[in-house]
């Protein structure tokens, strides 16, 4: 089994979000970048396939050179090789098209992406790739077992879960549940040392026009202070929720 884990290089959850250049760009100044959490669950599941079933695991991203520390981290966690498509990830269609090309070139039979990235929250990359590559696709995937060419996946649905059978090659939109939070790995010193020697290939993008473009950003309106209600006066909360907030 040859697995490609698609990784998005995203601002850490605790980052302050600001915009620059007249609110047309995300301000990366002082922002710590990490592996997108949904992708990290997938990467960790891929490590399991590597260790228990002898899979080969590559990681790929679409990003500029600033994304390389995140790719090195993925290598330190245990991926065998990394590929970086040297382009700014403009929109979901552009990214999916680039990653699809990586899959074609590398002959992967399992592609694991995250259900969405926590920066632009588009959630469309694995779905677009599944069409471009004609692979079966399971989104919001919370469990994955593979025997030979057969896969059994479970996915989260509104109000429950569904079990799906499919065959390789396939693509997964993964999330927590593929592995648990406690299974996530922090790279150890040996892993970090080995990651320096591992292959990180830079490829140039294929020509694709973005389908959408962010022309301006805005921050949410500043929130007013919380209105505190005395614990001895709960009627007041009920009345505020009814007449002021109008939610009950």
């Amino acid at each position: 089994m040859k697995i490609l884990v698609c990784i998005s290089n995203v601002p850490d959850t605790t980052s302050k979000i600001n915009f620059t250049e007249d609110d047309t760009k995300f301000d990366t100044n002082g922002v710590q970048f990490v592996i997108n959490p949904n992708d990290e669950f997938g990467l960790t599941r891929a490590m399991w396939f590597k260790e228990k079933q002898g899979a080969v695991v590559h990681v790929a991203t679409v990003g500029e050179i600033q994304a390389e520390p995140t790719m090195r981290k993925a290598l330190a966690i245990g991926a065998d090789e990394a590929i970086r498509v040297n382009a700014h990830p403009t929109d979901g269609f552009f990214v999916a098209s680039q990653l699809a090309e990586v899959v074609r070139q590398g002959g992967y039979n399992l592609v694991i992406a995250g259900r969405e990235s926590i920066d632009y929250n588009g959630g469309m990359v694995p779905g677009i790739m599944s069409e471009l590559l004609d692979m079966s696709f399971v989104n919001t995937c919370i469990g994955l077992e593979i025997e030979g060419e057969s896969a059994t996946a479970s996915r989260e649905i509104d109000g429950g879960k569904e079990t799906i059978e499919a065959s390789l090659p396939m693509i997964i939109g993964g999330q927590k549940g593929l592995v648990e939070e406690s299974d996530l790995r922090i790279p150890n010193m040996r892993g970090i040392m080995m990651a320096r020697q591992k292959k990180l290939t830079v490829v140039e993008p294929t020509e694709v026009s973005p389908a959408t473009q962010d022309i301006k950003f805005e921050k949410p309106a500043p929130k007013g202070d919380v209105k505190l209600v005395d614990a001895g006066n709960i009627e007041e909360l009920v009345s505020l929720l009814h007449s002021e907030a109008k939610v009950i």
């Binding site: 959850t13 790739m129 649905i157 929130k223 009627e235 939610v247 009950i248």
Partner: protein, 322 residues
């Protein structure tokens, strides 16, 4: 030319999200001067859509499509879009709609913008406002392609009634077994309970509740509000509550009208997942808990004292306003 909207059903009944998507699509259709056509699968009664401005319903009745399959449903919708010579499709933000979004974008060579929170900022070119950075920012996104797909965020546009005399066109699909490349072998769905995805109100408990045995009061409060129950990450990690109730960045996203957080401190990962909710209420013993900075209303107090009282007061309120 028409504006299409996918109206999702569960067990033959339209979801509230379907009516919200239709409301949004109706507004968009009026702005660009095109008729609105809804696409529904195996619905019991399509007439309900006429209350939300839908003039035509294309209804696909097909036993092969009784269980949702993203690829096959997307194929049927894409075929209809081509037949209708449509250039615009509106989806909701359900798990299944998000599953299809990328597939449809590729099939229709469309720019797809999900998480849209407001009516279009401009129609020519089409520019929409969408949530980004887990609700810490919004983008104005222009769609460059001929075909445009918009995903409407839950509870962002609301339901707008607009009664029209509509028509229903019954069609069959030419889907056959070979069109499926995934097979649904089991669906487990809770019944008789409001799900987090569909809920107007969510009542959520955190570590401050001290143990799973104390969840009765959360459920009592949820019952009186007609709310779904949810929990914070530590609570699901400790196994007090099922993972399916975990809301937050790595759990289920919540965009409801009223979110009540009980004994939840308000870690940034939790807030990232629930920030899209309109009104937030926090009940916590610690006045320094970060959730008070994110909430609209707060009670500093012991949940074990406050929550049962709140439930009682709400019962009285409901009885008076029934």
């Amino acid at each position: 030319m028409s504006v299409l909207v996918y109206t999702e059903t569960l067990n033959g009944k339209f979801k509230k999200n379907a009516f919200e998507a239709a409301s949004y699509a109706c507004d968009l259709a009026q702005k660009i001067g095109q008729p609105l056509v809804a696409i529904a699968f195996n619905a019991e009664d399509c007439n309900a859509l006429f209350n939300y401005g839908v003039g035509n319903v294309i209804h696909i009745k097909d036993e092969n499509l009784s269980t949702f399959n993203a690829k096959v449903f997307a194929q049927v919708i894409a075929d209809i879009a081509l037949k209708q010579a449509a250039h615009t499709l509106v989806l909701s933000a359900t798990t299944d709609a998000k599953y299809m979004g990328g597939i449809l974008a590729a099939k229709l060579k469309a720019g797809f913008v999900p998480n849209v929170v407001a009516p279009p900022l401009s129609t020519e070119p089409l520019v929409v406002k969408r949530m980004t950075f887990s609700n810490k920012g919004f983008a104005h996104t222009r769609i460059n392609t001929d075909f445009r797909i918009i995903g409407v965020s839950n509870n962002s546009f609301g339901l707008v009634e607009n009664n029209v005399d509509g028509a229903i066109e019954e069609v069959s699909s030419d889907i056959s077994e070979s069109d499926f490349n995934t097979k649904s072998v089991n669906v487990e769905r809770v019944t008789g309970k409001v799900t987090i995805a569909d809920a107007d109100i969510v009542v959520s408990g955190g570590r401050g509740l001290k143990g799973p045995e104390n969840w009765d009061m959360v459920e009592d409060l949820a019952n009186v509000l007609g709310a779904a129950t949810a929990c914070s990450k530590p609570v699901s990690d400790m196994g007090w509550r099922p993972h399916s109730e975990h809301v937050g960045q790595t759990g289920k996203p919540v965009a409801c009208n009223l979110y009540v957080a009980i004994g939840i401190s308000g870690a940034i990962q939790h807030l990232a997942g629930i920030n899209a909710s309109k009104v937030k209420v926090v009940i916590n013993t610690d006045p320094e808990a970060p959730f008070f900075k994110a909430a609209d209303y707060g009670i500093v107090g012991d949940a074990f004292d406050v929550v049962p009282k709140l439930t009682e007061k709400l019962k009285e309120f409901k009885a008076q306003n029934a």
